[in-house]
């Protein structure tokens, strides 16, 4: 049994516009989309480009559109997809470097802009900073993000407004705002409250749908909005 991969290909140095190319892939039981891509690269057409590393759904390299859904190629089994033609496209809203490889610099620059590192107020103690299990639980989901950029590519606001921070950066800010050890929550809220921050979100929930780890950046948006609103109420009093 075989399936067909229909891949949107583009080399900006050679091609005027992107175009689909079809490849036949012999199917093995349990075969993933990533394994299919390697089959094409190693046996059929070495010029095809895609990112990969862990092949176990944890490194975030292989986010892409598979049959128009945001997925990781490595954890998508071919048999789980309907039909015998599988359409692959690069993450939209990002410049294409080649084929399925996109330029993630806009994504990373927003990630960096929220200061993605702990900023404590106190000097560190000799041993660990204590944190209760309940406090640790509050950063459970927000620290699980694998930075695949699927949410960023899916977000309709990020797609039309390049200044918007986007779902990942906001989730990343919340990762530290919600951390009991961080002492710069106010500064972090200032970073994400402007016109390109949380209030720009239209709650389309595209990020939530696109996340392969079932995380919910829109929940972080809501959390931070609530905190910012509470803060301004307190200031008025």
């Amino acid at each position: 049994m075989a399936v067909f991969f229909k891949i949107l290909r583009f080399d900006p140095e050679l091609d005027k516009r992107p175009g689909f190319q079809r490849y036949e892939v012999p199917l093995r039981k349990g075969m993933t989309v990533l394994e299919g891509l390697f089959y094409i690269q190693e046996r059929v057409d070495g010029s095809i480009a895609f990112r990969s590393s862990c092949r176990a759904g944890v490194c975030g390299s292989c986010g892409m559109l598979i049959n128009d859904s945001f997925r990781l190629a490595c954890e998508t089994q071919i048999e789980s997809l309907k039909g015998t033609v599988i359409t692959l496209r690069p993450q939209p809203h990002l410049p294409v470097i080649k084929d399925l490889v996109v330029d993630l610099r806009p994504f990373w620059s927003k990630f960096k802009s929220v200061r993605p590192y702990l900023l404590a107020r106190d000097h560190p103690p000799e041993k660990e900073r204590p944190q209760s299990q309940a406090e640790r639980e509050r950063i459970n989901n927000v620290s699980d993000c694998i930075m695949c950029a699927n949410c960023y590519a899916a977000c309709p606001i990020s797609g039309t407004d390049e200044e918007y921070l986007g779902p990942q950066a906001i989730l990343q800010a919340n990762r530290f705002i919600a951390d009991s050890r961080d002492g710069e929550g106010d500064m972090r809220m200032n970073l994400v409250e402007g016109e390109n921050g949380v209030f720009r979100c239209h709650t389309a929930f595209a990020c939530q749908k696109a996340c392969p780890k079932d995380l919910d950046p829109s929940e972080s948006v809501a959390d931070i909005k609530r905190r910012i609103t509470l803060r301004s109420l307190k200031r008025r009093r």
Binding site: D11, E13, L14, G30, F38, Q41, E42, R43, D45, G46, S47, I48, A49, F50, R51, S52, S53, C54, R55, A56, G57, V58, C59, G60, S61, E75, I97, K98, D99, V101, L104, W108, K112, R115, P116, Y117, L118, A120, P124, E126, K127, E128, R129, P130, Q131, S132, Q133, E135, R136, I139, S143, D144, I146, M147, F176, D179, R181, D182
Partner: protein, 576 residues
């Protein structure tokens, strides 16, 4: 020509930890990585990181000395004891540092870092962040690198990702820089540097049945090896006992640490039937558990295709969700089973290269100005068999040490002279010619075919059980593959993001590292740790308590031997 004080090659935990030391010394540092740092294989580490913190109720009696003893016994006495003692002594400080930098460790009830039992350890000393410890450590350290990039109040930090380092430049026995390929444009460039640190991870993708990320080809070991730096103890390849049947995706040792059982096809905990795992059962060290799984399968206790079961059902849904959520997700996505309801089909898989670039206990190599740390290096702290939870520890302890050593070396050093620029330009020219030859070759050999053949030979004949006949045959076949590699032809000649070209370059490294593994394994006529010879089933301290040192030559690795540092603990028989 762009120049730096320190170039770090590799963006995993060891590389980034080393980079920070350069920044702390106000130096101009650059990190070169094949992939973006957060895609490094460190991300895949699950179970945890060891330190004798004594946070667990059963761990209050734990100590640095006991951690060192367990590590040395686990290594089957091949580890250098001074290096092990240093690693264990610095462990608590490094872990508290990661915590201070924000690493979200799981917590005990009193708010301290939680610790769990792990294989071969006398006390629960493995600190963890659920079953995503590598992920949390790597993201924390990447955050620190971003901080240093932004603040730049000390040194200057530059990260160059999607660059493949293809050569080091050596001027009269001193490393003076690197040549690297920009994977996006396909252009080669030479960079001058006062010191270079290789933190490029392991080589287990040489094996077909591997837990490793596809990026772990061994090219990072091959590049210094080609330049005359020896590789140490390469025959010691760790097979992790529990990887998903079929895909070899890792199932953490933490699953057994939390109480999981290994069962044969009769539903028995078969490890009780083997003398070396009788007492410790599922938490015996990895070499022993992997061997006994294979023995059980050979004796008919396995399931069709060759696997046994890892049963977590009795641990309960709450503990699985809290401590092993990632394992549950992996099992559902890749094996179609939910471990809450069904046992997991597992088999051993190639997991870790104990050997690597020969370094001393300061992380320095035999070529001046060149350093290595992490899995790519062999200090040696793991000897013939690494304990779970010690690899993450090695990355941050020896990453820091290698960064410090390189930093101190650079500060004390005179500026590079004009001769080094000439050497760099010559090296660049040589790499350029090599790349052009590859791109223009009309050879008929295919990268993917050669890689698959190498993967199969190594998995079948250089795995958990070895013998002279199998190893000799494997060596003949790898030698033939090295010959055929010269006639490799690419289907695409463009330079931009040409990944076939990238994998072909890396395959050249894999084959030479495979040759070093096989020659080391064939020569070592004893069984020690992960290296088990059916024809020499006993450990032989009289002849073989020594490190293998492999030097590159066109005809294959040339072997020498070096003594093991034994200070505190005399070799004894190993039982668990």
């Amino acid at each position: 020509m762009r120049n730096f004080n320190i170039i770090v090659v590799g963006g995993g935990l060891a590389g980034m930890r080393a980079l920070i030391e350069g920044n702390r010394r106000n130096l101009k540092v650059a990190l070169f990585s094949k992939v973006h740092p957060v895609r490094s294989h460190s991300i895949a580490a699950q179970g945890g990181i060891n330190a004798a913190l004594g946070n667990h109720p059963r761990g209050f009696n734990d100590s640095v000395e006991k951690h060192a003893y367990d590590t040395i016994k686990g290594s089957d006495y091949l580890a250098d004891q001074d290096a092990v003692i240093r690693m264990c002594a610095e462990a608590p400080e490094r872990i508290y540092e990661m915590e201070h930098w924000g690493c979200p460790f799981s917590r005990a009830e009193d708010g301290k870092i939680a610790q769990r039992p792990f294989g071969g350890a006398g006390f629960p000393r493995t600190c963890y962040a659920a079953d995503r410890t590598g992920h949390m450590l790597l993201h924390t350290l990447y955050g620190q690198v971003v901080k240093f990039e932004q603040w730049a109040e000390r040194g200057e930090t530059v990260v160059l990702d999607e660059w493949l380092v293809t050569a080091i430049a050596v001027d009269g026995g001193t490393c003076v820089g690197i040549v690297a390929l920009d994977l996006v444009t396909g252009r080669l460039e030479a960079f001058q540097s006062d010191a270079v640190i290789f933190a490029t991870g392991g080589s287990c993708r040489i094996y077909g049945n591997s837990t490793n990320a596809v990026i772990n080809t061994g090219i990072g070991m091959a590049v210094p090896y080609w330049a005359g730096v020896p590789l140490k103890d390469m025959e010691f390849i760790q097979f992790h006992p529990t990887t998903l049947f079929g895909t070899n995706i890792l199932v953490t040792e933490g699953a057994r640490g939390e109480g999981g059982f290994l069962l044969n096809n009769k539903g028995e905990r078969f490890l009780a039937n083997y003398p070396d795992s009788r007492k410790a059962m599922e938490v015996a060290p990895r070499d022993i558990v992997s061997r006994n799984i294979m023995r059980e399968i050979e004796q008919g206790g396995g399931f069709p295709g060759g696997y046994v079961l890892l049963d977590l059902r009795h641990i309960g849904v709450r503990k699985i969700m809290e401590r092993l959520p990632g394992i549950r997700e992996l099992c559902m996505n890749f094996a179609g089973v939910d471990p809450v309801d069904v046992p997991i089909p597992v088999q051993p898989g190639a997991h870790y290269t104990m050997g690597g670039i020969d370094t001393n206990s300061l992380g320095a190599c035999k070529i001046k100005g060149l350093y290595s740390a992490g899995e790519s290096a062999c200090v040696s702290v793991h000897g013939a068999n690494r304990l779970g939870g010690n690899s993450l520890l090695e990355t941050i302890v020896y990453g820091k040490i290698a960064g410090e050593s390189a930093g101190e070396y650079v500060i004390g050093k005179a500026l590079a002279g004009p001769s080094s620029e000439k050497v760099l330009n010559d090296t660049l020219k040589r790499e350029e010619e090599k790349l052009n030859r590859l791109l223009k070759s009309d050879g008929k050999e295919k990268m993917g075919v050669l890689k698959d053949e190498m993967n199969k030979v190594m998995a079948d004949q250089a795995g958990i059980f070895r013998d002279a006949e199998g190893l000799k045959d494997a060596l003949a076949r790898i030698t033939e593959l090295r010959e055929r590699y010269r006639k490799i032809g690419l289907s695409s000649q463009g330079r931009r993001m040409n990944q076939e070209m990238m994998w072909a370059i890396e395959l050249g490294g894999s084959l030479d590292v495979a040759d070093a593994i096989l020659r080391g394994a064939l020569a070592r006529q004893e069984s020690r740790g992960s290296h088990f010879r059916r024809d020499f089933p006993k450990r032989d301290d009289g002849k073989w308590l020594r490190h293998s040192i492999a030097y590159y030559s066109n005809e294959g690795a040339r072997l020498e031997y070096a003594p093991v540092t034994i200070s505190k603990f005399q070799p004894k028989e190993r039982e668990y």
